[in-house]
């Protein structure tokens, strides 16, 4: 297993390097930072001076090298708009996004797992059919519409929840449901099919033959075996959620990383944009790696 972990780490590092390169190149295509940062009355000479001081006249690979070494030191550049190190700007917003994603994940897992298990156990009956339609609906509704409609029903019409912003736990409910809604469908489907697959296996029949009670068969025997693919998808989902809060945060004015990206883009603050996208990719690669390792740990067949 140690060899497997090492191999995966190497692969991930390679992927990360390529990702940084791609993002770096993209940001460079996006415009000349010197022009953007210069005060309106700057002359061409001033702008050229700025370019030199920002290192923009160096050849591309040198710039990239500097960029990489900066990353390793934790220097992600400086935000034009907020005039702070990008990492700080990001850190201010990130906990909010994390909170939102965690809440959404809780919603997704609770409903996704239970619906999935219940559908599998009642396969073919009305609950299963209802579950299928529910899952399809979940994947067909655009996130922003779910948010808007929830807002309209619960904040405007019923007045139970605040419309937008962050603050109390009531503020968290609608955004969490909005973000989690889409993934609930995927998890339900996956849980259902994974459970069905497992419930068909001989060792489940053996458990029943041994006289294990139905609930124990479903939850202890079947679910543990079914959980492997669910774990993989669940973790990836979490990262997708973390990286995909843009729409939800925009709809509800949630001060997180999503709104940060949009604000930064409209303000042409490319260092911040770059930072956010980079960190998002890091998360993904990291979680992917973690999941693979965890999978190997849970399934003893891979371990030995």
């Amino acid at each position: 297993m140690k060899r497997y972990i090492l191999k995966r780490i190497l692969q991930s590092t390679l992927s990360l390097l390529v990702v940084t390169f791609i993002i770096f190149s993209l940001t460079h295509l996006s415009g000349d930072p010197a022009v953007l940062m210069a005060p309106p009355d700057a002359s061409q000479a001033d702008i050229q001076e700025m370019r030199v001081s920002m290192g923009l006249t160096e050849p591309f690979h040198v710039q990239y090298g500097l960029f990489l070494s900066g990353l390793l030191k934790g220097d992600f550049g400086r935000s034009f708009k907020w005039n702070q190190p990008c990492l700080e700007v990001w850190f201010e917003r990130f906990p909010n996004t994390l909170l939102l994603a965690a809440a959404a994940m809780g919603f997704t897992l609770t409903f996704g797992l239970s619906f999935g298990i219940l559908s599998a156990v009642n396969v073919g009956r009305w609950f299963d059919k209802f579950g299928k339609i529910f899952a399809l609906l979940g994947q067909s509704l655009p996130v922003f519409w779910v948010g808007l409609m929830l807002m309209w029903i619960f904040a405007v019409k019923l007045g139970w929840l605040p419309t937008s912003g962050m603050g109390t736990w009531q503020h968290l409910i609608m955004p969490a449901i909005t973000l989690g809604w889409f993934f609930t469908a995927a998890i339900t489907r996956l849980t259902r099919s994974s459970m069905l697959d497992v419930l068909d296996r001989d060792y489940i029949k053996m458990a029943k033959i041994k006289g294990v009670s139905r609930i124990s068969v479903i939850l202890k025997h079947a679910f543990k075996n079914a959980s492997l693919p669910i774990l993989t998808m669940g973790s990836l989902n979490f990262v997708f959620m973390l990286n995909g809060t843009v729409i939800t945060e925009t709809v509800f004015n949630w001060p997180g990383v999503g709104t940060l990206v949009v604000e930064a883009i409209f303000a042409r603050d490319y260092p911040v944009v770059q930072t956010t996208v980079l960190i998002g990719s890091f998360f993904f690669v990291f979680v992917n790696l973690l999941v693979d390792v965890l999978y190997a740990y849970i399934d003893p067949r891979i371990r030995y």
Binding site: W145, F240, V261
Partner: protein
Amino acid sequence: MKNLEHSTETKRIHWFFNREYLRGCLSGLKELPLFSIMLLIVFVFLGVFGKFFTPHDPTWTDLNAILLPPFWIEGGNVSYLLGTDPLGRDILSQLIAGANVSLEVGFAVVIIAGTTGTIMALLSGYLGGKVDAVVMRLCEIALSIPYLMVAIVLAAILGPSKENIILILIVLGWAGYARVLRGEVLRVKEGDFVRLAVIAGCSPLRIMLRHILPNIVNTIIIMSTLQLGIVIIAEASLSFLGLGVPPPTPAWGSMCAEGRNYIFDAWWISFWPGLTIMLVVLSCNFLGDWLRIRLDPKFRQI
């Protein structure tokens, strides 16, 4: 070589001419998701010919008819069936015209990303070795990058336009196809008929096109149906954020964005476009699911 190709093993690829398969098709016809198919036909029709069917010009502003509710609510007007927006433009007309954007972007992305993904999958799966390693790395990288964020960045860099959106979604979308189809190619590659073709001396290109491709067509069709829904939502999301097709071209996503500011008084501005998106995507998903069950009951997770 001709004899080998007509052997019983290779008959498998001629599924279309297989009597029993056709009979199975016809018996399954009564289970067709009629509603989904009809809705999609309407969608395509309106997407292409919509501009001839709008009750009003979608960009025509009538300042006397601002923020009218749907006709069945008090204050509504029958000539503006679903209401109007803050500039007095008819919602229904915008809705119909917006189908054009969704349709064009949807089909363009699905066709091009699908083709690219298929080619990559064939090369990667069949040729294996270094080609496979490279393509898989590319896929993994393409899938590591946060989809929506990058789409936004690219849209901002390249500027909002229909062509740019299509390009961005293709770049982000081919990897999904490639990964799944590569798995299928690997599975099909193990079939005896492929080995026979290799022994008979068929060139790799011929094998890929004539033997492997027809056997993964089912997966391609199913994925495309599902991807269409995903792309439509993606385009709408970008439009919602203001990075999609620029005004005055009507698009469902941007209609929702406008409606957001009026959610308190004029719910209909956001409601109708979102509902339409839902219906179209739902039909895609229904169709895709139905196809998945009909074309290969062994499918489990796509």
